[in-house]
């Protein structure tokens, strides 16, 4: 990799990391806004009780329960953010592809919802373990999801399926978009190959009949070097 390519990949990684963390922080802000309103309402009820209005214990319990639900929601968001942040720890690592894919689908969920799109990650019957560059693979999955989401006409549901390929490695199948996207958007394929697939030693297959994109990944990236 020359200096320009190295810089481009670094910029691309920083951009990706920024996008994901911004999306997570927006979601956390919503959680905090709900907790703030429920706590504020409890305070309002307490102030009114001080002024003589009877305090409804059942109502206070309900509000406390709502706060607890949001704390759990926030905890889930932060847990996913933590998993994502730690994917940079090891440039090359043995990963569970299904878990990694599920994480990226969760992280892209809000962006999809903004466009009225549903993301569906199908579970594989068994664990699919591959040695790869986790952060670059996450970036590629995000890039594919965002490119499909931004395609015209906008898809309603994007389905992502991890699959094991006997003796070879694994693949990720994206479907649910129009054929128009496959035939017109050449920059998508060029970018995917240049920015990610070379580093991942992977390939991208376009199935225009089934209207699918398939990312093909080696089982062990370091073993092929």
């Amino acid at each position: 990799m020359n200096e320009d390519e190295d810089r481009r990949q670094r910029d691309n990684s920083i951009h990706f990391f920024g996008k994901v963390t911004a999306s997570i922080s927006h979601e956390m802000k919503n959680v905090m806004a709900i907790i703030n309103e429920n706590a504020g309402l409890m305070e309002d009820l307490a102030i009114m009780a001080e002024k003589g209005r009877p305090l409804e214990v059942k109502r206070v319990k309900t509000l406390a329960g709502k706060i607890r639900v949001q704390v759990q929601r926030g905890d889930g968001i932060v847990r996913n953010m933590n998993r994502f942040a730690h994917s940079i720890d090891m440039p090359v690592d043995l990963v569970d592809l299904c878990e990694l894919l599920e994480l990226m689908v969760i992280l892209a969920q809000r962006a999809a919802a903004m466009k009225g799109i549903t993301l569906e990650a199908k579970a594989a019957s068994d664990k699919i373990m591959i040695t790869t560059r986790p952060f670059i693979l996450e970036n590629l999955i995000w890039f594919c999801l965002r490119s499909i989401m931004d395609s015209d006409p906008s898809p309603r549901t994007i389905i992502v399926v991890p699959e094991s390929v006997l003796k070879k490695g694994a693949q990720i199948r994206f479907s649910g978009f129009s054929g128009h996207f496959l035939s017109k958007d050449n920059t998508f394929f060029k970018q995917a190959k240049e920015q990610f697939l070379e580093s991942l030693e992977g390939d991208l297959i376009i199935d225009s009949v089934a209207r699918e994109i398939v990312i093909v990944l080696p089982g062990n990236i370091s073993a092929r070097k």
């Binding site: 922080s25 927006h26 979601e27 802000k29 919503n30 905090m32 806004a33 709900i34 907790i35 703030n36 309103e37 429920n38 504020g40 309402l41 309002d44 009114m48 709502k66 949001q70 919802a113 903004m114 466009k115 009225g116």
Partner: protein
Amino acid sequence: MRVLLVDDEEEFVSTLAERLSMRGIEAVWTTTSLEAIERAESEIFDLAVLDVKMPKIGGFALKDKLQDKQPDMKFIFLTGYGSEQDFKSISAMLGADYYLVKPVDIEALIDKMKKIL
């Protein structure tokens, strides 16, 4: 004062509406921009409080649609941006003068409502 609150987080928008009502402000809430547009066809509002990021039709696009129906309606935007400072450049570009960052301080919101009307 009659206010339309629009945010896709139902728990947030319904509770905010209740708290505003406790303070003498008539607040109607919806969780979708489409429902907000429908309501604006049959009801008059002095002001709308809109979340910037909502599915399909975001707050800024919704403002234009509501303003077409009720030109006198005023607007306050709510954002999940890190700080008001972060949001300032974007809001200036889009012509949004009044905005608040989530979580919202209800007294600050009411102050802005009074200033704008």
